[in-house]
């Protein structure tokens, strides 16, 4: 069961929410729609579910066009950010809702509800009211309710967005296990890039209603297709420079640049915090790429180091505690910096 959307567009009172978006979510995988707030990711998900009608474009479920099919008949499961449970019904009745609508025989409903409560590990909570559950439990009930009718696709709209950080991480692992069991084609909306990279086999990065890049998490992280993707997915430092002799000259560093760029064009080099190597500045004369340690902070097993380059730009780096201890760095030390990897983007238009 795959999901494909083609050239979808949607405006709300003149404001563009989704613009000419196309992507395909592979069958049986978790696909993430990743983007900042206002990027149109939730609208895109609602268009797939049939909760919104597109201005243009088509939605295909399993190869069949279903753009005009009403939400009740799409056969999708949907989990909302704020669980949206029926507060006046017990947990069991919430899960049974979709089955009752479809007029399943009572016995079958009972069995299916038991099965689902088992699946979401809430077997003993069936008689509770939603108000008696914790946030994480409520969200699990919402999953069970969405899965009860055996949907062909599971659509998740920031399902962990309203939960606190610890529960969020727990539920992330839980969702991973759940998906291993069900193998259901899943589309997940999130603004949390960590969630996207950890949970999904396929990531679609959205920006201002458009699809910026679509690919595996590794592709997105290692080979960002645009400046936006490079800065939004994963932490990155941005250093500025110019094209000189066909290569990017960023401060004292010279990096390879895409072929055929104009001499003097402005470049933005994106450097991951762990792609920087530093060493104490030694010997006489100014080091090739010098910097001063401005701040150090330990975060669990890794150390964040804030550097001020001689060019005036700042660079945040991160290294494992072991490597850091060997360096014996202190605030104010001069260090030498080497960039192990950088992604260079050349600005279109006039350079200086």
């Amino acid at each position: 069961m795959s999901v494909r959307v083609e050239r979808l567009s949607k405006q709300f009172a003149g404001a563009v929410a989704v613009s000419d978006a196309s992507f395909a979510a592979p069958s049986g995988a978790i696909t993430t729609l990743l983007g900042p707030s206002g990027s149109g990711k939730t609208t895109l998900l609602r268009l797939i579910a049939g909760l919104e009608v597109p201005d243009e474009g088509s939605v295909f479920l399993d190869g069949h066009e279903c753009t005009g099919v009403p939400v009740q008949k799409r056969g999708v499961g949907f989990v909302f950010q704020g669980h949206a449970l029926f507060e006046h019904l017990s947990v069991r009745e919430n899960v049974a809702f979709g089955l009752r609508v479809r007029r399943f025989p009572a016995r079958e409903i009972g069995e299916r509800v038991d099965e689902l409560l088992e699946l979401v590990q809430l077997r003993d909570h069936g008689r509770r009211q939603p108000a008696q559950l914790s946030g994480g439990q409520r969200q699990r009930v919402a999953f069970a309710r969405a899965l009860a009718t055996r949907p062909r696709v599971l659509l998740l709209d920031e399902p962990f967005g309203s939960l606190d950080a610890r529960v969020r991480i727990e539920l992330r692992a839980w969702l991973r296990r759940l998906h291993d069991k069900t193998q259901l084609t899943t589309v997940l909306v999130t603004h949390d890039q960590e969630e996207a990279l950890e949970l999904s086999q396929h990531v679609v990065v959205l920006h201002a209603g458009r699809v910026e890049q679509s690919g595996s998490p590794l592709e997105i992280y290692d080979h960002p297709a645009s400046r936006f993707v490079a800065s939004f997915v994963g932490e990155a430092n941005v250093l500025h420079g110019h094209i000189r002799d066909g290569r990017a000259s960023v401060g004292p560093h010279t990096l390879s640049a895409p072929a055929g760029v104009r001499e003097g064009a402005t470049v933005h080099a994106f450097v991951r915090p762990h792609d920087v190597q530093i060493a104490h500045a030694r010997g006489v004369g100014p080091p090739l790429a010098g910097a001063v340690v401005e701040d150090l902070s330990r975060v669990g097993g890794s150390v964040k180091i804030a550097l001020r380059l001689d060019s005036g730009e700042r660079l945040a780096i991160r290294m494992a505690k072991g490597g850091f201890d060997g360096l014996r760095l202190a605030r104010g030390d001069r260090v030498q910096v080497e960039l192990k990897g950088a992604k260079v983007f050349v600005e279109e238009g006039i350079g200086t």
Binding site: L51, R74, A84, H88, F97, G98, R145, A148
Partner: protein
Amino acid sequence: MKAADAAVRRLTRRRGILPGFRLTFGFTVLYLSLVVLLPLGALVLRSTQLSWAQFAAAVSGPRALAAYRLSFFASLLGALINLVFGSVLAWVLTRYRFPGKALADALVDLPFALPTAVAGIALTAVYAENGFIGRYLVANGVHVAFAPAGVVVALTFVGLPFVVRTLQPVLLDLDPAMEEAAAVLGAGRLRVLARVIAPAMLPTLLTGFALSFARALGEYGSVVFISGNMPLKTEIVPLLIFTRLEQYDVGGATAIAVVMLAGSFALLLGIHAIGMVGRRRPARSQVVA
């Protein structure tokens, strides 16, 4: 005194976080006593000047019984009509955007603001034999003015805003995702309304109904003109009380008033109790992770 002091302290001890409980609670008791309980108490006291036989005779005459019946059923009917159509109105005013919405919203409040006697005269003018609507109704044998139906019309008019204004904020607060969730699960519009929205609104519907009902029971001004005040036929309890007062039968008036008071109080208490049962959810502290 000491025992009372201890009781107050026991009540207040748990309220450590929000300051001022004693002061505000004391004020609440005083205020309710002065404004509500004192006049009502005086009323009851006054009625005790009658002997039991006098009291029974005053409250159970055929005229009084007819008035109770009319007051109760007309108020009930008015409140029920308001419950249905007030819900529709509140729904339209919260869910949709349309030209003239602000005007419609303001119109709902008019029965609040209008002196009820004016409303009564206006309604009478419309429904009387030569009135705007009345002439067609009477021609077809339907009598509204100077008939029990007129009482219902007047009581519906004064009770309407109570239902609408009670429902509106709660409808606005209803999570639209709940309805969408039901739709994704395959529920059509009617089922969403019956199975998701109505149950969530039930306590509020009850409150709106109770307010409208209570208002109707006590209403006087608008009914006087349209009902015609025929004893045994179109005389409501407040009017009967007034008639007794006019005849300097203060004892009889207070006796009927006491019955009316007890009845209204019992009804309101009953409706509240139903609402409490519907709303009761175990406390958060009972949550087991």
